[in-house]
């Protein structure tokens, strides 16, 4: 467990700049998630910390020590891969013991057996220790991999979408379990994901990556409520934020250089047209296109002129296709033509 610092790190593969001038400090015991779509440099960042790649520029510190040129074995990190997390030719026991038997550690066999059985109990796989790794289910394999990475008490545990190959139910279970173990052991974790749910629920802080650059770092709440750009705003929120050209919303007192308006459900008050309520000036009229019933909530698809919006709606409210509603905006997010946040 240690503080990890990335200092202006860059890495290119041929002409592709995977990571550009990235600086990030991960505090001791902190859970940081890197969020972004595929190919944005998340995994490269992780591999730079692990030492599987060497940066072209910049430095990496783990626990105050400059490890920029150090081999992976000398960094005291663990890594959980998206797939192929266990050695298929070894048993579960041998898999758990593998890092403890490394020449750099050389623990006595007695000690190894004690640690492994302790881990196995914690992961609830003590009955499977003699099985070949390939005889476990995908969920069990990934659980063993995660447990193994945490229990070795590394300076930092690096996780590359460890849950993304699992089905939804298992993913939700392991999310809770991973967070519990991390809190129990106070492990420092750098976690890569494209799943906003994982980032929101587990991370102390989220770093959002765009084209190899770290564009915003903050708590999940900060990132959600106060995104620096339209791109960041699009990363969090379900359904995704509606980015509407300002002109669509008509004459309306937005900042002068606002080009895009970001609308989440909480930025919009929805009113049904009725004879009892007069239309207030500034209200935007929208037509109900479709309603998706998700049980505990509804996704309401609206059309404002040519533009589509998706909002959450109370399932108790019944709308009809084609019905006209009025929208009143409350403190929406404004972005300029480059997508930067201006208000």
């Amino acid at each position: 467990m240690a503080e990890v610092v990335l200092q202006q790190v860059s890495k290119a593969f041929g002409s592709v700049e995977a990571v550009k001038n990235l600086s990030l400090t991960i505090a001791d015991g902190e859970f940081v998630a890197l969020l972004g779509p595929t190919g944005v440099g998340k995994t490269t960042t992780l591999r730079l910390v692990a030492g599987l790649e060497t940066p072209d520029a910049g430095r990496v510190f783990i626990g105050g020590r400059d490890v920029t040129q150090a081999p992976p074995a000398a960094r005291d990190v663990t890594f959980v891969f998206q797939q192929y997390s266990l050695y298929p030719h070894l048993t579960v026991f041998e898999n758990l013991a593998f890092p403890l038997r490394a020449p750099t550690r050389r623990l006595p066999e007695e000690e190894i057996r004690r640690i492994v059985s302790e881990v196995a109990r914690m992961l609830r796989i003590d009955t499977k220790l003699g099985n070949k790794a390939t005889q476990l289910s995908g969920g069990q394999m990934q659980r063993v991999a995660i447990g193994r990475a945490l229990v070795r008490r590394p300076a930092i545990a690096l996780m590359d979408e460890p849950l993304s190959s699992l089905d939804a139910k298992l993913r939700a279970d392991l999310r809770v379990e991973l967070k519990r173990i991390q809190q129990d052991l106070r492990t420092t974790i750098l976690y890569v994901t494209h799943d906003q749910m994982e980032a929101m629920t587990m991370a102390d802080r989220i770093g959002v990556l765009e084209n190899g650059r770290l564009v915003q770092v903050g708590t999940p709440r900060e990132i959600y409520e106060n995104p620096v750009s339209a791109y960041v705003a699009g990363r969090l929120g379900q359904p995704a934020i509606n980015l509407v050209p300002r002109a669509v919303l008509g004459e309306w007192n937005a900042p002068l250089d606002a080009a895009l308006v970001g609308l989440r459900t909480e930025h919009v008050q929805l009113h049904r047209r009725s004879k009892l309520r007069a239309t207030v000036p500034g209200d935007i009229s929208a037509r109900v296109k479709r309603i998706e019933h998700l049980g505990d909530q509804n996704h309401l698809h609206l059309a404002v002129g040519e533009h589509d919006l998706v909002m959450l709606a109370d399932p108790a409210l019944v709308f009809h296709d084609g019905e006209t509603v009025d929208l009143r905006l409350e403190n929406p997010l404004f972005f300029n033509a480059e997508g930067h946040r201006i208000a």
């Binding site: 599987l52 074995a73 593998f98 890092p99 490394a102 020449p103």
Partner: protein
Amino acid sequence: MSAANSAHSVVEPSGYAKLIAGSLVAFYALISLVPLVWIGLTSIKTPTDSIHYPPKVIPFVEFQPSIEGYCNLFSTRSRQTTEYIQSLPPPQGACETITRARGMVVAGPSNYVPRYINSLIIAFGSTFLSIALGTAAAYAFSRFKVPLKDDLMFFILSTRMMPPIAVAIPIFLMYRELGLSDTRLGMILLYTSVNVSLAVWLLKGFIDEIPREYEEAAMIDGYTRLQAFRKVVLPQAVTGIVATAIFCLIFAWNEYAFAVLLTSGAAQTAPPFIPIIIGEGGQDWPAVAAGTVLFLVPILIFTVLLRQHLLRGITFGAVRK
């Protein structure tokens, strides 16, 4: 017929289909086995029976089996007068009895055993070298940025493009200069150079299939690359290595042309030796057949022992993800 029995499955062949497939395999096996059976039968005939026309096929009915072929394979004999033979002490063992009945005595052991040992040393030696070099090269080509990788791989493949015998004379001259003619080392190096290209290409396919995450995990777990290679890559490549080894071994074991050209005595292998086993009055066919039967044994054992790897190995590398 019950409903369960009439249910049709796409993946499970019906009994009828199995029967047809089985018969085809059996038929093919029968045809393939004819030459082997013929050689086996010849090895237990007497020289006279072996050239009899029409051929005698069924043992104990058409001809009486004899171990004369095997006796002659392992011994050299000289013809002696009846008086001399009768003056000798009684024969020891079946072979001496048979030899004396032909009016000859055993003069000493034949060269078959030393030639056989040469074959074993050269074939297994070159297979080991091919696999060791091939695995190392294949791993490097698979995992590292090797400059001109594609060109080098093509160059390695191109060494297989002409028949090896086309370079026989340059090699013959070169070996004479280097003092490698008729040495085991020379033959091991020669067969290795032919096999290593096959080994590199086959093994690169197998190693490409092993996700590099495993080595990376091992390196993060505290192992060096070499240790990760030994502990993680090699165990997973065993199937490919075994399949490749069998191919290399079969080539080196059966190679004839270079062996005839480059070896004559000390390093001569069994293939050029067996066909020139001469008995009285020409080719000693039962001895030749016996030599061939015994020559098949090591490959048979090797392949049978490793057949599971072989089967998986041949199909494994072919599937691309």
